[in-house]
């Protein structure tokens, strides 16, 4: 179970208040720094900080300036002492608490505060935006098909594959070339590169992913798929990878009619690999 929002800012505020009330001379500057930063982040004055970074980073990003981890962890560590003190029964007195001495009191205090942290944070111990590794080579399940390609050690080969596969191709091997990069379908990456792609690359992207418009007439559709296959062969795209469900009627017929690409036999893969002869 994953929640979309947590309460760490509230914990930070509580810890900051605690720090302010119990501050020594040494921690005074830290408290003042936190208050000043909070003022900038919570008020429109924070816009000055965003302008300072030429709006390259959003408002969310500048919250990293707040020493949330330090202050909250300090607050919890300081509170632990108070909680364990309250839970420990002093010798010779009748009071609510545990008999196991200071050690057990500390342990209980830690459990209580850890539970508080857990409830205020993400309730998932596992991944939220990452996915489990399926193989030893570190490829995600969707891109595992890359491991089945025969990549020459001293040459480069072109690959045309669906997005979920091609986004890992250049990370997996520098010998795999792509007609277009991830910045074609991830516009955020245009901040990293000035290179752009023409309409032909966009049509290749749509074709291999099975998106966009296709001729409705069966005969025209087969001819349309065959044209793409011929263009790919002409451009020297060595590997074509299609999702299994993409190899439907028209593409299946076009592949059966041509002799430029041969199908590689790969079992247990949701993809079909075609190699240039």
């Amino acid at each position: 179970m994953v929640r979309l929002a947590g309460q760490y800012l509230a914990l930070f505020m509580a810890a900051l208040l605690f720090l302010w009330l119990t501050e020594g001379q040494k921690r005074k500057d830290l408290t003042r720094y936190c208050f000043l930063m909070l003022f900038f982040l919570l008020t429109p004055a924070g816009l000055l900080l965003i302008r300072y970074q030429t709006s390259f980073y959003g408002h969310e990003n500048i919250w990293r300036l707040l020493p949330l981890t330090v202050v909250t962890a300090w607050g919890l560590a300081a509170a632990e002492g108070k909680v364990s003190e309250a839970l420990t029964r002093p010798k010779g007195r009748k009071r609510f608490g545990v008999n196991g001495g200071r050690g057990l009191g500390e342990a209980l205090g830690l459990v209580i505060l850890s539970a508080l942290l857990w409830l205020c944070g993400s309730l998932s111990l596992g991944s939220v935006i990452t996915e489990e590794k399926s193989r030893m080579d570190g490829l995600p399940k969707e891109a595992a098909v890359l491991a089945d390609l025969e990549i020459p050690e001293d040459d480069f080969v072109y690959l045309l594959a669906p997005d979920e596969v091609s986004e890992w191709a250049r990370i997996y091997s520098g010998r795999l070339l792509l007609p277009y990069g991830r910045n074609l379908y991830e516009p955020e990456l245009s901040a990293f590169l000035y290179d752009t792609y023409d309409w032909e690359m966009e049509s290749f992207h749509d074709w291999i992913n099975g998106i966009g418009e296709r001729p409705e007439d069966e005969e025209q559709a087969v001819s349309w798929e065959a044209d793409f296959l011929e263009t790919c062969a002409h451009a020297g795209y060595h590997y074509l990878i299609f999702a299994r469900e993409r190899v439907d009627g028209a593409l299946k017929q076009a592949l059966a009619c041509q002799d430029r690409y041969r199908e590689e036999i790969v079992t247990d893969q949701p993809y079909r690999i075609y190699t240039l002869r």
């Binding site: 560590a77 250049r170 990370i171 991830e186």
Partner: protein, 301 residues
């Protein structure tokens, strides 16, 4: 100036930042002089070897000069000897995080081209002459503000040095190093916030680990950046540079602050060298000015 004394965590962090600086110098030389990557890697390896030899030499000289009684000072050893349970618990928690997030899971690669860049550097033996996303020559190029960043070159250097695959170095080894250094920074924070209270230091570190672990629900949280994108410059800034810079400000360690300022320019995009560390330093400067003014006013009363 007790706080300005150099501790073991200081040495580790500042040493790492100095390595980043050396790598940046070699990276820039390779970039502007068009040197092949294997030359840059050899120069960097030679520089690091020299640095290690110099550090060992200086340490031996100091030992000779200070005499045997100074050698016995080892506060961290005592800390580990007195609280082995806590040490084991924290160690296991950190190992769990590293294994779970960096070895058992695949990171999010959206909005990042580090993996492709490292692979391209290793394959072509050149720095930024080929489009990392396609493997073909650039048609329009790449912004210089990104070309000057050193992390891909440093990762490629690690790949060359260890022989490990790019995916392992970028998405497992580098995040582990960043996370370990981040905890070293917080070890220093623990010593600063709880002087003489050893158990409290362990509590502090325990809660830092939990804050990372459960603080993955939102982008600005340190846990989110470190656990899901530990290989990025953003993680170095969030987990190491910003907390260490603030600690240096509080302790009056100008050298550490300067190293953080420079390291930020090397690992993540900044506005003409003025990044978040500079903002934090300016804010802290304002706080110090106010504190001095307040103290003077109190004294006048």
């Amino acid at each position: 100036m007790e706080n300005a004394r150099t501790t073991l965590p200081d040495k580790i962090i500042e040493g790492s930042l100095a390595v980043t600086g050396a790598a940046e110098a070699v990276h820039l030389a390779g970039l502007f002089l068009g040197l092949p990557f294997h030359v840059c890697a050899a120069v960097l390896a030679a520089l690091l070897l020299c640095a290690v030899l110099c550090a060992v030499g200086i340490r031996m000289l100091r030992r000779k000069r200070k005499g045997p009684e100074k050698e016995k000072r080892a506060p961290y050893r005592a800390l580990f000897r007195d609280h082995p349970f806590w040490l084991l618990l924290l160690f296991l928690l950190v190992v769990f995080q590293m294994v779970w997030y960096y070895w058992a899971h695949i990171p999010c690669i959206k909005n990042d081209i580090t993996g492709e860049t490292v692979q391209t550097i290793l394959t072509t033996d050149r720095l930024y002459e080929i489009n990392p996303l396609t493997g073909r020559p650039f048609s329009n190029g790449m912004p210089m503000r990104l070309k000057i960043l050193v992390l891909p070159t440093l990762s490629a250097f690690l790949c060359r040095l260890t022989g490990l695959p790019v995916m392992t170095v970028c998405y497992s080894v580098v995040p582990c190093i960043v996370m370990a250094l981040s905890y070293v920074v917080y070890l220093d924070w623990a010593a600063y916030l709880f002087p003489g209270e050893r158990k409290k230091r362990f509590f502090f570190l325990f809660f830092v680990i939990l804050l990372y672990q459960f603080g993955t629900y939102s982008l600005p949280l340190d846990g989110y950046t470190l656990l899901f994108g530990g290989y990025q410059g953003e993680a170095v800034r969030t987990g190491i540079l910003l907390p260490y810079a603030l600690l240096c400000c509080l302790r009056g360690r100008k050298r550490g602050l300067l190293l953080c300022l420079l390291a930020e320019v090397c690992v993540v995009w900044t506005f003409y060298g003025l990044g978040y560390v500079a903002v934090a330093a300016v804010f802290y400067g304002a706080v110090r000015l106010y504190s001095r003014w307040a103290d003077r006013r109190r004294a006048a009363w």
